[in-house]
Point group: C2
Chain length 136, copies 2
Amino acid sequence: MIHGKALKVLSTLGISGGEEFTVSVLMNVKSKTMISFKDVVKIDLRVLKKVELDRISLVSPGATINIIKNFEIERKFKVEIPDSIIGIVKCSNQNCISNNKEPVSGMFRVESKNFKILRRVYCDQKYYQPEFYHLI
Amino acid sequence: MIHGKALKVLSTLGISGGEEFTVSVLMNVKSKTMISFKDVVKIDLRVLKKVELDRISLVSPGATINIIKNFEIERKFKVEIPDSIIGIVKCSNQNCISNNKEPVSGMFRVESKNFKILRRVYCDQKYYQPEFYHLI
């Protein structure tokens, strides 16, 4: 993932540092191309759920996931922002129906994957990519 | 340092993950003795100041510091809680003079290093070790 995202990804996954599995984090290390710097997070004995991959896609779009089994990479892919997001993101509009006691879960439509815009389904509030982390 | 402290130490040092130096963090790795688990934080190109070592001593008492130069350990020591602490810790007592606009910096006397008790110099408030992190 691009540099600056590792601690945000840990927080998004609910990892606070006291867990009973091993977590390794590298921040600001040179990428293979040696042009840019990246962050790496390695979590032992943890299979990420779909909802967790979606969270990562919002916090660190395009981050690469490596699934390692028996010391070998079994699968490698980039996280992708899904078409719609339900229950992960909270609307910051205090008057939005999803922030009241109504039984409505936070649902967002992804308006543009390239420009990374989310639009709130109920109140039509628009969010741009740098704001996503604060909504989770 | 004992397991569970790495992210707290980063936060105490003001490292939020976007810095331009390399930071490596290992959480819940077996110690040399293989009896217990520990955390390791490695910060490149950063010399820790006395006040930062004091902060670490409050968050992770007894943590070992290795100063590495030219790929070799130049010095190794354990952080120690100092006799008095000035300006690092805030008193949680809202009525304490140090929390008002008076020009009084937060000063604590370390009452017992073994039992890790801090006593506030002005208002006499007592703090026990597990509370220290929240005061910084």
